[in-house]
Amino acid sequence: MPYISCLGKVCLYYFLIFHQTSKMIPENLRIIIADDDVDDQSLLTDALIANGIGREMIVLVSNGEELSGIVHGYSKFPSIIFLDLNMPKKNGLKVLAEIKGDPNLKHMPVLIFTTSTSPVDIASCYELGANTYFTKPFSYSDLISLVQTIKTYWFEMGVLPRSIFSR
């Protein structure tokens, strides 16, 4: 992993993680799931756990307002947000716009996780700065492999950012 060497302090951090878990998932990684549907919350949680993610890393909120309330507290962690679009109180698009419009939050990757296949939704999400748009799979094995791909891409191969402003 030659690219780690150029990351300065992070290099050490990753080095430690590497030794601790033999995978490269940062231990203070936080995965925020914003979904009003408890079934979907639990399915995604289980799929994450099945992929070796610790339960303590998973944060559940059930609407946009709740997400707005807690998201600032997580900006200092390497974190990623699974965002459902169709939610009561404040819908996904609104929170997405808020997060991507906030200089303290916009670095946080937001993965849209919704049942909508509407081209309009897809386009507006990317326009607002969503990092990837996923439609919820129809089978659990698909969900598992989707989570696996996300894990490999974002947590193992990619490097998650942390806020350099707050704290």
Binding site: D37, D39, L43, D46, A50, T115, K136, P137, F138, S139, Y140, S141, L143, I144
Partner: protein, 424 residues
């Protein structure tokens, strides 16, 4: 009809001589020997063309008789010739009563004058009668015409009202249809969520309890999963059907050959698996909704592959027939034929197959929701066109898509598409 003349004279010889003078004219005579008798006759018979009456008669003289005759409306039109003695100046006596149709003859009677006068009066009378009849006829015709006009107006109003009602009904039906579509859309949309959960949890159960899979028997959870999957396809297709009417009716000129080639490229694996041959002739540029028309052709081609005869490689041919619109240059009518050599079906099912959830082959081997052709029909109707099927068992099926009048599109000069493209 024979002309009837009433002769009134108290002296029979006079009656006879008048009769003798007028006889060659072929009149029919009724004779009366007194005013009284004449009045009695006139109670029953009105159809006299002329009355010839002696003025000088005992009891009731000619003038009194005439005034009694003319009191009756029915008789007022009968002209009277009074026969009077020359020297009395009687002609002025009846003035008060005359209506123009009164004349005088002087004794001794000159046969020529009598004949002339009588014939003039008879002629006048007959003409008047004819005129009256004509008038009556005209009035009747007029009445009939007026009645007819009124009837026509009434029926026109009725038709107008019916039309109005029909338009209202159509509007209502369209609204109901839209509502139904909306309902189907909402229902199927909302049904999708719980169904997705069923599939997910059933599948999760299988994934997390892998040991069940070793069981050779298809276990119950797997059946749940499969049933849910099938239901999901159904709902997806209902949603697609419900959504057709929400698509725009602004059609765009579409290169049908490119559109079909794209579909064939998408389906090439299926086509290859079935060793199918697809022949596509040149199809003109058409105004359609490309997204919907693609769905339609994908369904028709998919069906042709699905219902292939065992041991016979499917051959699917697509061609168009173009005819001028009402012999004018204002456009053309286009029919597209999709023919296969598959298992076909009895022609009596040709309409039924376009119904929702219709499956002629309940064979589990052949997958389908029974909604594909219903969707095709809905798409054809969205284009204000129609779709029909011709088939025969074991002879293959031809689907005919008829599109409404197409305006001629001036084509940009482009290198022409390869005609008769064969994909194998």
């Amino acid at each position: 009809m024979q002309t009837k003349i009433l002769l009134i004279d108290d002296r029979e010889d006079n009656l006879l001589s008048i009769e003798a003078i007028l006889e060659p004219k072929g009149y029919h005579f009724v004779k009366a020997q007194s005013g009284k008798e004449a009045l009695r006759i006139l109670l029953k018979e009105y159809d006299f063309s002329l009355i010839l009456m002696d003025v000088k008669m005992p009891n009731l003289n000619g003038f009194d008789t005439a005034s009694l005759i003319y009191q009756r409306d029915k008789l007022r039109h009968i002209p009277i010739i009074f026969i009077t003695a020359n020297n009395f100046g009687d002609e002025n006596l009846f003035k008060g009563y005359e209506s123009g149709a009164v004349d005088y003859l002087y004794k001794p009677i000159n046969p020529d004058v009598l004949r002339a006068k009588v014939s003039v009066f008879v002629e006048l009378y007959e003409k008047t009668q004819k005129l009256q009849q004509q008038e009556k006829k005209l009035t009747a015709t007029n009445l009939r015409l007026e009645k007819e006009i009124k009837e026509r107006k009434d029926s026109e109003e009725k038709v107008h009202k019916l039309n109005q009602q029909l338009l209202k009904n159509i509007e209502h039906l369209e609204a109901v249809n839209k509502e139904l579509d909306h309902f189907a859309f909402m229902a199927s949309h909302d049904l999708q969520e719980p169904l997705r959960k069923i599939r997910l949890f059933a599948n999760k159960f299988l994934v997390t309890n892998k040991e069940l899979r070793s069981n050779q028997k298809l276990n119950d959870i797997e059946r749940i999963e499969q049933a849910a999957e099938r239901m999901q396809y159904l709902i997806r297709d209902i949603l697609t059907i419900a959504k057709v009417s929400t698509h725009s009716s602004d059609f765009v000129p579409t290169e049908m050959n490119i559109l079909i080639d794209d579909i064939l490229a998408e389906m090439q694996e299926e086509i290859k698996d079935k060793h199918a041959k697809v022949i596509v002739d040149k199809i003109p540029l058409l105004h359609v909704h490309p997204g919907l028309i693609s769905v339609l052709f994908r369904n028709l081609i998919g069906n042709a592959l699905k219902f292939a005869r065992e041991g016979v490689s499917p051959v699917i041919s697509i061609h168009a027939e173009v005819s001028p619109y009402q012999k004018s240059s204002e456009g053309f009518i286009c029919q597209i034929f999709v023919r296969d050599n598959g298992i076909g079906f009895d022609q009596k099912f040709a309409e039924k197959i376009f119904g929702m959830f219709t499956r002629l082959h309940p064979d589990a081997q052949i997958k389908g929701t029974g909604l594909g052709l219903a969707l095709c029909r809905k798409i054809a109707e969205h284009h204000k066109g129609s779709i029909a099927a011709r088939s025969q068992v074991n002879e293959g099926t031809t689907f005919v898509l008829s599109l409404p009048r197409q305006s001629v599109i001036k084509k940009p000069k482009k290198p022409s598409l390869a005609n008769n493209k064969v994909r194998e």
